[in-house]
């Protein structure tokens, strides 16, 4: 089902193709990733161990790297630390079987930008990788986000659509802010829970869906065009038209 959301056809328009480096010692998993990234319109190179990966990363110019944490010859964290010490700032997503709070913190501290625990859905990985890439040209500095006729002012904390003021609760504002920062990209439920609520666990009930549909009610009700789309099996995307 996840694959359906990642195929280039259909409602989702994909971002500019990325050059991705996958450092993963599990041959089968790496091949699967390479194929899946290709289907999503990206180019992926694969390195089977830490040393090769380090050499490739150091030489090549990648948009995003996906690095497995536990590998022969050189472990993922050491590869990342090595790259960072050489001034390489390419965004890194760490893949790991270790998923405790401490493991995540260690991974991010070593220089990783995001952390995904195995087993994962490819849709989740793809969404995160695309967000990481976009972060290279981050919108952090912009004070006003615009998507179609929707406008969010980060300084005055005001939201308007087609010049009509929309009142949001503080959390709804942060939710919309995150969606707008990554407009045109798939944002998963876990990404929302992590970035808007700062929680890294799976709630028993899918609370995020209810929050999103509430927000949707506020920003779409009374307007003819939908702007907050549900991407089946993956998450949400804010996109005009």
């Amino acid at each position: 089902m996840q694959m359906s959301a990642t195929q280039p056809s259909g409602e989702i328009a994909y971002n500019s193709p990325m050059k991705i480096l996958v450092i993963e010692d599990d041959r089968e998993a790496a091949d699967y990733l390479q194929k899946a990234f290709a289907e999503a319109g990206h180019t992926a190179h694969v390195a089977g161990d830490g040393e090769t990966g380090f050499a490739l990363a150091d030489a090549g110019d990648y948009d995003v790297m996906v690095i497995d944490r536990m590998m022969p010859r050189r472990d993922g964290l050491s590869v990342i630390a090595g790259l960072r010490s050489r001034g390489n700032t390419t965004p890194v997503l760490i893949l790991s079987a270790l998923g405790e709070v401490d493991d995540r913190v260690t991974g991010l501290r070593a220089g990783g930008d995001d952390y995904l625990t195995k087993p994962y859905a490819f849709s989740e990985l793809l969404a995160r990788v695309e967000v990481l890439n976009r972060r290279a040209s981050a919108k952090e500095a912009e004070t006003v986000y615009r998507v179609g006729d929707l406008e969010l002012d980060r300084l005055s904390h005001s939201v308007r659509r087609a010049s009509r003021e929309i009142t949001l609760q503080p959390r709804e504002f942060r939710l919309l802010e995150y969606l707008m920062r990554h407009a045109g990209q798939v944002v998963t439920r876990t990404m929302l829970l992590e970035n808007v609520w700062d929680y890294h666990f799976d709630p028993q009930t899918n609370v995020i869906d209810v929050h999103v549909s509430r927000l949707r009610g506020k920003i779409e009700k009374g307007f003819d065009k939908p702007i907050l789309h549900t991407v089946r099996g993956a998450g949400y995307m804010l996109k005009s038209g």
Binding site: M1, E100, D102, T117, A121, Y199, F201, T205, V207, V210
Partner: protein
């Protein structure tokens, strides 16, 4: 106890006994040496004083009647039993009178105190010695006395003396035999030997009793640990109740064994549960795939089956993660990631997270957390535990009441911070059921219709254990009240 000598020397007790024995012996030798030299000096001083008195008396006699009186007095005193040594000689050292028959040569040549003890012989002593030595063979004297006597017989007696020159150039010697201090020294020597012997015996006895007792205790501990290593994990080390070091050691080891047993039990339970609760969905997964493959299917059916498979495996992964997390928390997993966690904020966050869900379910969700209370802990874990509990409360509050409500209250009660989630649903009326509700995979009859893995409360309980707190399920009025109690730790 059959121990070869090297084995004995390997025991701590034997080594300690030997060391103590050596130390005591050194002390004793030093003490005896000091005592003998001190008392010898005192005896010499006393002897010199006696001689001085004697000389003063003789001087008075000489003043009274000159040489003849002196000679008379000397002769009279010489004959008294146990008398001092008296000798008057002419200027050439020729003995004129007194009780000394012969002297070490040179003694009379310098005036004043003799610089060192000298040997001499009394009148008539040669024969006396011989007479004394004969019956001595029959054992009336001790061996050592005999040796002393023999040694003295060969060298003569030792004495110290004051040598004076009389106004008429004659020489007078007044001395005293040193036999007494020498006998005293012999007594001390014997005492020392006896003391050393007794110390040796004492050391041996101490080793025998103390060392053997310690060995016995250690052997029983070794024996017990061998039994435990052999697989009897319920076995414990013996504790005598004396409260000594061995008892403390045994108690600590027992506490460790209890901890290991708990962990082991937990591990066993986890594997049992994994076997039971993961096998069922895995079988379902496999059956579905098999059913899809057999028989003719439309492409949409395949898609549907695959989607179902993914959904099911996602659920399996969730369950698996929850089991792992509970096990790690219960196994005393220690996190470096503990900080001050603002509980009021945690309550606000979780309530805010669940508020839309509650509203959709028609449940009123309220928070009463005004007091700023913080505990030492992990925000993520506390948030997860609380959201599991709130999730449950929302699910089970419906159906019993026209106006289902869930209330989250944060309060400080004495030494605890209580975070309670109360609903007004059916609750869990049975005490036993309530107690079982936090066990892994336990899904009470009434809840089987609800979705869930049966791990939510177990995880919350594990999180509370991790925070040194408690999770309690109390009957509400109506409904159920789940209370998380955190111990208050002031800032450290």
């Amino acid at each position: 106890m059959a121990l070869s000598v090297p084995a004995i020397m390997k025991t701590t007790a034997a080594r300690l006994s030997a060391l103590y024995f050596l130390l005591f012996a050194l002390c004793a030798v030093a003490l005896v040496f000091y005592m003998t030299s001190l008392s010898a000096r005192m005896l010499t001083a006393q002897t010199q004083e006696t001689i001085n008195d004697e000389v003063l008396g003789l001087a008075r006699a000489y003043q009274r009647g000159g040489l003849p009186v002196l000679v008379r007095v000397v002769e009279a005193r010489s004959r008294q039993p146990g008398a001092n040594l008296y000798l008057i000689a002419d200027a050439n050292g020729q003995i004129l009178t007194g009780n000394v028959q012969s002297l070490e040569p040179g003694v009379l040549e310098t005036e004043g105190w003799t610089s060192s003890p000298f040997s001499y012989q009394r009148f008539g002593e040669g024969e006396l010695e011989r007479l004394r030595n004969l019956p001595a063979e029959q054992g009336t004297t001790t061996q050592s006395e005999q040796n002393d006597a023999q040694a003295q017989g060969e060298k003569g007696h030792n004495a110290i003396a004051l040598v004076l020159r009389l106004p008429n150039q004659m020489i007078m010697l007044v001395g005293r035999d040193l036999g007494e201090p020498e006998r005293f020294r012999a007594v001390i020597r014997r005492a020392l030997m006896l003391a050393l012997g007794m110390m040796g015996l004492g050391g041996l006895l101490i080793w025998f009793f103390v060392g053997r007792a310690a060995l016995k205790r250690i052997d029983s501990v070794s024996e017990a640990s061998r039994r435990i290593m052999g697989g009897d994990l319920s076995g414990r080390l013996p504790v005598t109740g004396v409260g000594d070091e061995f008892d403390r050691l045994s108690e600590n080891l027992n506490a460790m064994l209890a901890r290991i047993a708990t962990l082991n039990e937990g591990l066993k339970q986890v594997s049992d549960n994994i076997a039971h609760d993961l096998k069922t969905p895995l079988t379902r997964l496999r059956n579905r795939a098999e059913a899809t493959l057999s028989g003719k299917q439309k492409p949409t059916d395949y898609r549907q089956a695959l989607e179902g498979t993914i959904a099911e495996s996602d659920q399996l992964i969730k369950t698996f993660n929850a089991i792992l997390m509970i096990s790690r928390l219960e196994a005393g997993y220690s996190s470096e990631n503990t900080n001050r966690v603002d509980l009021a904020e945690a309550v606000r966050d979780v309530v805010e997270l669940y508020e839309p869900v509650a509203e959709e379910a028609g449940v009123s969700l309220e928070a009463d957390a005004h007091e700023a209370v913080s505990v030492n802990g992990n925000r993520e874990l506390i948030g997860q535990a609380l959201s599991n509990i709130v999730d449950n409360a929302i699910k089970y509050s419906t159906g019993a009441n026209a106006q289902p409500a869930v209330r989250v209250t944060l309060e400080r009660t004495g030494a605890d911070v209580r975070l309670s989630v109360a609903d007004n649903g059916h609750g869990i009326p049975d005490d036993g059921d309530r107690a079982r509700a936090t066990e892994r995979f336990v899904r009470l009859e009434k809840s089987r219709s609800q979705p869930g893995s049966g791990l939510g409360l177990s995880l919350a309980k594990a999180v509370m254990t991790f925070h040194n707190g408690r999770l309690e399920l109390l009957p509400g009025n109506p409904g159920l009240s789940v209370v998380m109690s955190f111990p208050v730790r002031e800032d450290h």
